[in-house]
């Protein structure tokens, strides 16, 4: 602490000014970076790498099922789980804010459990636990129903907390204005508070969509068929079949094809909210 002002006052101890030192440091970093890149280019076995990871013939085997089956199913799983999570999450958020203590308690316990458990455990419990516990009981839509329920149950816990934060972020005066116009509490919530709350939480809700999109790959634990396969399982099966990693790369790229634009949308929404404030 004591020699900080001294150091600032006498930059010439090593004979170099701070600006010169910074310049030398940047120069060294640049040179090291260039050396590493050149080494990788020279030493790597490029033909093998391209053949194993970016094999065009193997990639061609994935068309058109990559889109017509795998991506389609991934989207169905994601969207159905998201819709269920949205509705259930909204109900849980309203329960969390209820004036009835038992509602608050139930919602809180639900949120803590489903936010704390790995999604994989929910999938396994629904896929194998339910049929054993209730023989003959079947969720509607076979795998589709199970996946939608598993994803929805997990997503609801996260979305409930987002909705709650959004509702609480709407100024108190909004509810007062609505009530002073004669609206009942439920009507004011639906017409005045929720539209504003949902706008506030659109960025975190879009993030949740991205998370669900990836979590839909957990459907493999339920043992999918050729008709119900999704991106990850589809890529994995072909990778084993062809002894080549290209299908996994292609499947991964297909996820990014959707998640990257969604991420951009989220950032734009956040920037707009910052501006509006």
């Amino acid at each position: 602490m004591t020699d900080t002002p001294t150091a600032a006052a006498e930059p010439a101890r090593s004979g170099l000014s701070p600006r010169q030192r910074r310049r030398i440091s940047l120069g060294v970093q640049t040179v090291v970076g260039i050396i590493v890149v050149i080494a990788v280019i020279l030493l790597a076995d490029w033909p093998t790498i391209v053949n194993v990871f970016l094999n065009r013939d193997v990639a061609a085997l994935m068309i058109p099922e990559l889109f017509t089956v795998a991506l389609k199913n991934t989207l169905i799983y994601t969207v159905s789980g998201y819709l269920l999570g949205f509705v259930l999450g909204l109900v849980l958020a309203l329960m969390r804010l209820s004036s009835l203590a038992p509602y608050r308690a139930v919602a809180l316990v639900y949120i803590e459990i489903f936010r704390g458990l790995p999604a994989l455990i929910i999938f396994l419990l629904l896929g194998f636990g339910l049929p054993i516990a209730f023989p003959g009981f079947k969720l509607p839509g076979q795998e589709y129903g199970t996946v939608a329920l598993a994803l929805g149950l997990v997503a609801a816990a996260y979305m409930a907390e987002s909705f709650r934060a959004g509702i609480q972020a709407v100024p108190k005066g909004q509810m007062e204005a609505a009530r002073s116009l004669g609206m009942k509490p439920g009507r004011a919530m639906v017409s005045i508070i929720l539209p504003q709350a949902i706008r506030i939480v659109t960025p975190p809700l879009t993030n949740e969509l991205i998370l669900l999109f990836k979590d839909s790959s957990l459907v493999f634990t339920l043992g999918v068929t050729a008709a119900t396969t999704e991106l990850t399982k589809f890529g994995q099966d072909l990778t084993v079949d062809q002894a080549n990693s290209t299908p996994l790369i292609v499947a991964g790229a297909t996820y990014l094809l959707l998640t990257v634009p969604l991420g951009i949308v989220v950032r734009r929404l956040e920037a707009r909210q910052r501006r509006d404030r």
């Binding site: 100024p171 009507r187 539209p195 509006d276």
Partner: protein, 247 residues
């Protein structure tokens, strides 16, 4: 004749803080009553008790002869006849000016969209912001927002209008527009209960001025008396501070 507002022995307590300590007063139909007093005197709380935005701790509130403090009273139905204008406007930011004025007509009075829009446009026109019908609250000045808020309350055809420091959040040059609208309403015979710091408005427009301090009514009478020739020392010292802040 039933009173527009009748308040009997009203008490309001927030935790340990006794804000209203026994208020009795009435407003007759067509009267304009201005409530003045230092901040913390309980005047806003009194106003908010009239439409039960605050639940009185003790005492009775009647509006048009119906007791709102009756546990079986339909508060939502009663509030339809009582318009309220807030210091912070509290317009709905996700709706255009027109939709702000329409939504309660549609959702509460169950008017059709066409009728609600006609009523909304009439009222926006009346408060001088008819050309702003398509703007969102964030695009309007404070004075314009407050006038839209007045139109929103008027569209419900209230018998009584409550104003809670309607010009306190406005830039000085915008205060006049809002006061002009309120003056016009008073001339049309609207029953108004106004919490305000605008002494000029109170003196010229009010039929009665109520001075509150420390949770009680100190003085209640025509403006020529309460503002012009106050009998109580507390009223005099308050007015001295408000009217001659320099001296």
């Amino acid at each position: 004749m039933t009173h527009a507002v009748e308040i009997r022995d009203l008490h309001k307590q927030f935790g340990d803080n006794l804000v209203l300590k026994g208020i009795d007063f009435t407003v007759e139909p067509g009267q304009v009553v201005c409530v003045i007093g230092p901040s913390g005197s309980g005047k806003s709380t009194l106003l908010r008790c009239v439409n039960l935005l605050e639940e009185p701790t003790k005492g009775k509130v009647f509006v048009n002869g119906a007791e709102l403090t009756d546990p079986d009273a339909d508060i939502d139905a009663a509030r339809r006849h009582v318009g309220m204008v807030f210091q912070q406007f509290n317009l709905f930011p996700h709706l255009s000016a027109l939709r702000n004025v329409m939504i309660a007509q549609q959702r509460v009075l169950k008017r059709g969209a066409k009728e609600a829009e006609i009523v909304a446009r009439e009222n926006l026109e009346k408060v001088g912001v008819g050309d702003k019908w398509n703007s969102y609250p964030g695009q309007l000045s404070g004075g314009q927002q407050q006038r839209v808020a007045i139109a929103r309350a008027l569209a419900m055809n209230p018998d009584l209008m409550l104003f809670d420091e309607p010009t306190s959040a406005l830039d000085p040059e915008l205060v006049g527009d809002v006061l002009t609208v309120m003056r016009k309403l008073a001339e049309e015979g609207m029953t108004m209960l106004v919490v305000t710091h605008e002494m000029g408005f109170a003196r010229e427009v009010a039929d009665r001025v109520v001075f509150m301090d420390g949770g009680v009514i100190v003085e209640d009478g025509p403006p020529s008396q309460v503002i012009g020739d106050p009998r109580q020392e507390r009223t005099r010292s308050f007015l001295r501070r408000v009217l001659h802040p320099e001296g």
